[in-house]
């Protein structure tokens, strides 16, 4: 049985943003187009636009994050929404309050949107299935599953530099197994129709049957980099040295770290991306991270525009709710 795509409402408009999977190319292009005007908001003297005035957005982070949480917060503020940051470390949920109990408590405070980060795959889907009908959910990263706004800001950045997706050869390097960013990027890149996606890493960090997502698998970075247009480096978590996934940081860097010498194998105008935070000298040489081919800081800036686009598309949709029949009960 094919599950229905809960990310779209009955009119086919964006309701939740949980994973790239399930969207058609036009949906993704619409989001990228919608982000264009927001990309310039920061250049204006007054950075705010009044699109979401009166809306309440909750940043619900069950897992630590600086960049993602901050860019969501800034995006919400620039759209004139009220935003509440709730950081829940795992010890708080272990007091016995379940994820959904906590959610229902917050819903009782009349919020319009939850931005959720959780260390378990599927958490955002679970929440989206249990919120009241007018509430939207944006996935800010769930376990190893999905991080769709990160993938979209990466696509936005690629489009700024490369214009056309069709001819691109994109290389994703590192810990694909644990990476929600890589999974979302793969879905986004294949949906937007790039010519080839290559994933690179040792077998210990490449999940089984990743080929079924439409990528080619490489274990040798130098082979994979040949003629690449875009090189995406993934963060390597230190804890991967435990559990026999990797022998050492040194060996990892010598095999899969991006150095200037290796980067020369890619096309001369190739761009280098990284979702951050960077481990300099573990997955990428400092000279590249700070070098002319790096677009890492642009990614951060674009993160705000993409998140503004996604928020305004989902919540802007419900602003015409006045046209819908009023809900009964009056408790909401």
């Amino acid at each position: 049985m094919i599950a229905k795509n809960i990310q779209l409402d009955e009119q086919g408009r964006l309701k939740h943003f949980l994973s790239i999977e399930g969207f058609k190319r036009q949906h993704l292009v619409n989001i990228l187009d919608a982000a264009e005007p927001f990309a310039n908001v920061h250049e204006q003297a007054v950075k705010k636009v009044p699109l979401l005035r009166g809306k309440t957005i909750v940043n619900l982070f069950f897992e630590a994050s600086t960049r993602t949480r901050t860019t969501f917060e800034l995006a919400a503020k620039r759209l004139s929404a009220d935003i509440l940051n709730i950081n829940i470390n795992t010890s708080a949920t272990s007091k016995g309050e379940s994820l959904l109990d906590m959610l229902h408590n917050l819903e009782a405070m009349h919020c319009d949107m939850f931005i959720v980060r959780h260390n378990q795959s599927g958490a955002a889907h679970l929440i989206a299935q249990h919120v009241s009908p007018h509430t939207s959910v944006i996935n800010a990263g769930d376990g190893c599953h999905s991080h769709p706004t990160q993938a979209m800001l990466d696509m936005f950045t690629i489009r700024q530099h490369k214009k056309q997706f069709a001819d691109l050869r994109v290389v994703i390097v590192g810990d694909i197994l644990h990476s929600r960013v890589a999974r979302s990027q793969i879905h986004a890149l294949t949906t937007l129709g790039v010519s080839e996606v290559r994933v690179v890493g040792p077998k210990t960090l490449i999940p089984t049957q990743i080929e079924t997502l439409g990528v080619h698998v490489y274990h040798d970075l130098q082979l994979a980099l040949v003629d690449a247009d875009v090189v995406i480096m993934l963060r390597l978590q230190k804890e991967r040295m435990q559990g026999a996934l990797l022998p050492s940081e040194n060996e990892y860097y010598s095999q899969y770290g991006l150095t200037e010498k290796k980067l020369k194998l890619a096309k001369p105008d190739a761009i280098v991306m990284h979702p951050g935070p960077i481990n300099r000298g573990v997955e990428i040489a400092s000279s590249i991270a700070d070098g002319p081919q790096s677009v890492i800081l642009e990614q951060v800036t674009n993160g705000i525009a993409i998140r503004m686009a996604v928020m305004s598309q989902t919540l802007g949709r419900s602003s015409d709710r006045s046209a819908e029949p009023a809900r009964t009960g009056g408790q909401q």
Binding site: Q120, G122, L126, D142, C144, I210, L213
Partner: protein
Amino acid sequence: MSDITQLTAAISANSPAISIINGRLIDPANQIDKQINIHLQHGKIIALGDPPKNFTAQHIIDASHQIICPGLIDLRFRLREPSYETKGSIASETRAAVAGGVTALCCPPDTMPVIDNAAMVKLIRLKAETEGLAKVYTLSALTQQLQGEKLSEMRELKNAGCVGTTNALKAVKSTLVMRRALEYAASHDITVFIQAFDPWLSDGCAHEGAVSTRLGLAGIPVSAETIAIARDLQLIELTGAKAHFCHLSSAKAVQLIQQAQNDGLPITADVTAHHLHLTEMDIGFFDSNCHVLPPLRTQRDQDALRHGVKSGVISSIVSDHQPHSSDAKLAPFAETSAGISGVETLLPLALKMIEAQGMSISDVIARLTQQPAKILNLSEGTLSVGADADVCIFDPEAWWVVDRKKLLSRGKNTPFHGWELKGKVTYTIKSGEIVFATETHAN
């Protein structure tokens, strides 16, 4: 033990005289499949065909267009009592069992406290006798507290009524302990039930494959199952123990079992009804009702399991009934409890094998009655004259839609909600007592 046996005898002696007429009687153990009447009295089957002289039926059940078969025997069933009564109790879950046509069930020892002493066995059997509607058999813990270190008193436990022994969902990591346990069980002719998985490769929640990769879920590879089966088969050969492998999930597992059976090892195997009808794809977007152990695997695996059932390599189909409270399934997928509330869909799902695999209805019924009885070494699972009057009557053509809210089990955790299934139990009789009747038939 004797006090419980006496209690059972006293209760069934008072059971009414029942005649079941006009039905198609299928008893695989005696190779009967024909329209014939059957008569019950004092908790026993007393005649097939014409009633004995001086027999006056207090109840006559008209089973026209229905099938009369032995009460089903479910090899793996969690009652949740003692200790997890929010999920289920002996009363609630045996009620669900008889609604599914199951008259005897076998519960593993991973209750709390663990069934590793005779007092626990007696407690459960006594509670089942007084509060339960189905016969409850227990497996003893293979090792003390299921910790995989010291052997349990499995002979004492057998004397107390255990019909086999198992370490359930706790792997016996030490090959040496497993060897000793098999040797000891073999000395006392006790069947060892093995749910085979390598604990180091099983730190996941879904089949390691395309779906786990897509959803970012930690995977359990097929080799987690085959490594453990291969190890235990070697030890079975070494020790001469009798063993039963529970819940095969992969094509390769079926192959290993078949090979070992061909080599003459005394082993049997079962499969759950849900593994015959679901695959990893059914997880969709994190449907926690499809979170089961062993995990649902690929279409190829499902095909092989079905073939295994048809060929007899897998000789019984079980529900692996695991009721959960709704909270246990309302969490991110990996954090939910594994298991399905399965007993009420066991029969219709098994019957689907007739169309799916071209099995005869008699063979399907054998996988639910005669074969599990043989594995447990029970006298049930047949409609022979003199046997306990455990009978299931069902309408093989009745369609019904599974509605989780209507399940009698305390656990509403079924992935089959909304499925249209064929085959509905109309009466269940345990030891001569009508313990279940559908509303349309009860009067």
